[in-house]
Symmetry: C2
Subunit: 334 residues, 2 copies
DNA sequence: GACCAAACCTAGAACGTTATAGAAGCGAGG
DNA sequence: CCTCGCTTCTATAACGTTCTAGGTTTGGTC
């Protein structure tokens, strides 16, 4: 029984070659723009390809030429800041001839799974944004294919980070310059980079000889944690300024303060971290430590490419800068 | 000149087979869990695979067995709501044995490019979240491989949407029930679904015989647009309630109002759309029209799967529900 | 011990592409 | 006329996997 329409197969190079009356090999040459084809056959093949709607099968291509040209990126969709990075990674990767494959981490999807999907997809190298997993697991993976950890310094794995300590120092310096003495820190809890930023805060306070006023409030990476941290602020003897782990957390704090009738920056100054899209828009413009997204992204891509040619691993730190908006001011007169 | 370490090749099925002393074919059977292998060889092969750290090459697999098992998803990283959807899509796809490939749209990356990357990756079907491109382009693509449009009804392409009109009606009904008469709408400008929601608003107002009070303020899909729209609110004869295109825009409006000293919901009630993570956290809890994320995601995956088996295209609409928080109240007494 | 079926295993051909090696065409130089 | 070199083209062998079709054991029955 011969049935009607056969399932519409996606056109292959063989189809293009047949239609234009040349060999598959020649069609391949034309399609990938290699040299060794006459102008006339180029035209013929291109026309046939266009007519058939031919698109090369990247899997087959990758299978044959051991370079797949694929760069994997693992990110958390819940983090707007990762989104900013990815956009720049796309741009940087394109410049170097890489295609980018994304794999998300989320409540339903573990980091391990996300990274596995990337290796399975045939990526030549992987950029893991703020990987939470153990260093051992990442190092093990790195033995298979180059891994670059972005936003987190992982020992023995190529890492590209912001110099968090410098950023925190800038924030503290700025606040001290405004006249603040009682500056507290809302930390990131168990989040990636939380410990580094906390230590930098303590160090910066000590450097200003304000160690006795240093206070660390337990926080976390998101708005909810910020709101919770705000509830811990003592009513009397409240600090006059806050350096917060990141913008999302700062937003939570800000919200709670405003609802509690504490004006920012009138009664409380605040500095966030990341300079997310967010900080720029919502509420009061939040002063924030800006990570150099473009440099981070292109550096990560560059490091991944370098590893493919066998260069050694190392840590690249990028200098952050403090972006001032309307959330800091001199402390209220006592 | 013989140099030191050869470039560490990723282990292949042949390596596993050699190491465990069986044929490649048998190793394949074991690795994919097919039947026809004895328990003892299963153990041998699995052990060898584990020791080598073997992971099957999905490209080669896809190339051979015409099912690649790949489901492409195109999304905008700037939209937190898309992130929610993707997480559910991962879950739904896994249930049906699909792997998910993500491709983002962004300031540096057009939708066309994002979709092309997906077809090149060898996806069997594609889910485009809120595709902005022309219906013709999508339909053309659909001729090559099944396309499902999620969050936007596109003629002649399989579409899975929320019944936006019903959602807007619920919002208006609720506000009218609270006693509001002067209810305005901040629309989504040129954003996807903006026109549908605007029309639904006008229809709902008319249904309550409030057509004469209907006002549409030009807005947009993000916070900035909301802030701008708030500036257009007349000082006197201000509406007492707002139905806003989406939560992000609503947030912008909310912020502007609070800064302008207009308490919400005291002097102004507000309803958003999407029930994003956002609405639940920041500021005042925003009342919002909840889209059924899980149903949307699983329905989109299901439709994609159905198309692969040759079922016809159609439109699936999912009922939204109104989530009440603290941004609506009775209008202030005159 | 011969026969049979079931269970287990393997050789080898695909899948769509690229790379290598060499064949044809052709004009110039001896 | 033969050879040389150049350009243009093609046959064919990979890449790592799955699948088909057939081959070899195994062990139970007569």
């Amino acid at each position: 029984m011969t049935t009607g329409t056969p399932p519409p197969r996606r056109p292959t190079l063989a189809d293009v070659a047949r239609k234009s009356g040349v060999s598959v090999a020649l069609a391949s040459i034309v399609m990938r723009g290699a040299e060794g084809a006459s102008a006339s056959s180029r035209a013929k093949v291109k026309a046939a390809a266009a007519e058939l709607g031919y698109r090369p099968d990247s899997r087959a291509r990758a299978l044959r030429s051991l370079r797949s040209g694929l760069l994997g990126v693992s990110l958390s969709l819940a983090e707007p800041f990762h989104a900013d990075l990815v956009d720049e990674i796309y741009a940087a990767a394109e410049l170097r001839g890489f295609d980018v494959v994304l794999s998300a981490t989320g409540p339903r999807r573990s980091e391990t799974r996300s990274l596995e999907a990337l290796t399975d997809a045939g990526c030549e190298a992987v950029i893991a944004i703020a990987p939470a997993g153990g260093a051992a697991a990442l190092a093990a993976m790195d033995a298979r294919l180059p891994v670059v950890s972005l936003l987190r310094a992982v020992p023995s794995v190529e890492s590209v980070c912001t110099d968090d300590a410098a950023g925190i120092r800038q924030a503290v310096d700025h606040l001290v310059g405004l006249g603040h003495r009682h500056i507290a820190h809302v930390d990131g809890g168990t989040a990636v980079a939380s410990a580094e930023r906390r230590d930098a805060y303590l160090g910066a306070m000590a450097a200003h000889d304000l160690g006795r006023h240093a206070t660390v409030l337990p926080g976390g990476p998101d708005e909810k944690a910020g709101t919770a941290a705000a509830a811990l602020l003592p009513g009397a003897r409240r600090p006059t300024a806050l350096v917060v782990f990141n913008d999302r957390c700062a937003l939570g704090v800000l919200d709670a303060l405003e609802r509690g009738g504490v004006p920012v920056p009138g009664s409380m100054s605040m500095v966030g971290f990341d300079d997310s899209q967010f900080a720029r828009l919502a509420h009061i413009g939040l002063s924030s430590v800006r990570q150099d997204v473009e440099a981070l992204a292109s550096s990560a891509v560059e490091r991944a490419a370098a590893r493919l040619t066998g260069e050694p691993a190392g840590l690249r730190e990028h200098a952050p800068s403090l972006v001032l908006r309307n959330s800091t001011a001199a402390p209220p007169a006592t």
